[in-house]
Amino acid sequence: MFKILKYSFYDLMRSRWSYVYFAFYLLLGVVLLFLNNDLSKAVITLMNVIIVLVPLIGTIFGVMYYYNSKEFTELLLAQPLKRSSIFLGQYLGVAISLSMSLILGLGIPFVFYGLFMSNAIWDFSLLLITGTFLTLIFTALAFNIALSNENRIKGFGYAILLWLFLAIIYDGIFLMSLIIFEDYPLDKLSLIGTMLNPIDLSRTLILLKLDISALLGYTGAVFKQFFGTNFGLIVSFSALTLWVLLPVLRITMKAKKKDF
């Protein structure tokens, strides 16, 4: 598995797209810091970008990589190798190289700007941790979609739909249900609703660590009581881990049975 991971990783490291992705984050970090002059404000702006872009790029890149390396995969399948290690190796290769582009691309300008001397370091690390989680989750989901669909166009379509659903439509449904059931106590429902969507969960986790959490008012106080405690943090990180593990598990299951 590690050999395949290494191959995919080096393959991706040589590809143009990793550099473009890396350069994009580098540029974003530099421009934000240049315009803002304030680390904690830059973290908020960055959050908006990460919440939207990281899942999108994770899904698209994952699907693209799977379809592009299909012939290589078929070649590997002819060798005496475990199927799960082939696919997990590929998956980890993509996810790790994407996360590295994210962490390095954003990390370098912030470190040069004096992150270690600023108290925004915890917010920033949380940002990178959730960003990495989102990459892992959405690449895994992308691999699931690609494995289930032989047709590339269909695969891409589902991938975009998945992103659209979790990033936008889910929040719309969430908001509608909050408005429809506004006569009932809603704090539990909104807590569960947030937990079920990795994008919402990451956004809430970051928001509550930032200064603007006071804006959330009394409702926010309920959330802060939950997410602010160690218990809440453990629960939300386990939810994120679960979001990684379940799709990965499905990758191995699916890969075992699939005909090539």
Binding site: N48, I51, A167, L175, L186, S190, I199, R203, A214, L215
Partner: protein, 401 residues
Amino acid sequence: MTNVWSNTITVCSSCSVKTIHEALQQASEGDTILVKKGIYKEANLKIDKGITIIGEDLPTIDGDAKGEIITIGADNVTLDGFKIINVGVSYTTDYAAVRVVNSSGFVIQNLELEKLFFGIYLQKSNNGKVLNNKVRGEAVTEFNSGNAIHLWHCNNVEVRGNDVRNVRDGIYLEFSSHIAITDNFSKNNVRYGLHFMFSNNNDVINNVFETNGAGIALMFSKFMEVERNVITKNWGTAAYGLLLKEVTDVNLKNNLFLENTVGITVEGSNRLVYSNNDFTSNGYAIRVKGACYENEIINNNFLYNSFDISYNGKINDNKFDNNFWSNYTGYDLNKDGIGDVPYRPVKLFSYIVNRTPEAIILLRSLFIDLIDFSEKVSPVFTPDDLMDENPRIKRIDHDKN
């Protein structure tokens, strides 16, 4: 008849008069008591003659937590330059460091109050001055702490240059009118920096309110002038800079609201004029809770607030004109400094949050940005006449002296 010759009685540990209590008994109308440096363990000092009491080099009066320390019950009393500590805390009586009862012409100045329950308590007293006092409380909760400067049924009093911190309410007024509150500094108070109840015709000018539970609470009052105040860093889930509840005919001019969770919360208030204020980096700049009519919001700067105006309901009878909004995205083709497209300060999301507070959890999600944008293009839910017809292109430079 008043004396033609007024005497001066000196109090010190080596003088013939050793306690303030003794001096008060000896003094007659118009006399001066001069208290030298030292610690005087005295409480329940009653001043019932029009005398002047001056502390030299800040002598300390220690009340030993026995209750009230100084009670003034006569006209024309001056109290100057003492450090007064250890007022007793009670849940049935409002013990104060200095209480003025039914008097006029009093001057209370240069006091330093510490370990207090209530600080300076004026009741039914008129035509006096409270100047340059320093109050340092240790309040943690509302129910077992008192107010620094408390006015009840007073008229025509000047409260100037006081520095009040860590008490319940920095300055509290109830049924008081014609009070001038100027140049005060109010910080870290548990409840409000300045609190008005049923008090009319008062001026609040050039004060600073910082990190209080809430900066100023104006309730059930009329005819006020609030000018050139700085209200800042009232930040927390239930904090706001200025609360306006059931007030009418108030002028809010040249104030700065900086980094408050809510700059102004206003409810049931009519005929208010907000002009030349700066609202900078607040969560909400102005939160209108309803029943507010004939208000004018003109020539203000709204800079980098998460929400500029929050409104519930569809009726708008308030006028927004000639403000600068940092969130304005219009253009000015004829270069007259006024944007050609009106600005709508109410976002759909703030409207939703008013209806369903739990929805705030979707703050900064992509979906919310999308619906805000579509509402901006064609308003459906927010009042469609609520807009600034003449938004400025450049930020207004207010005259800040």
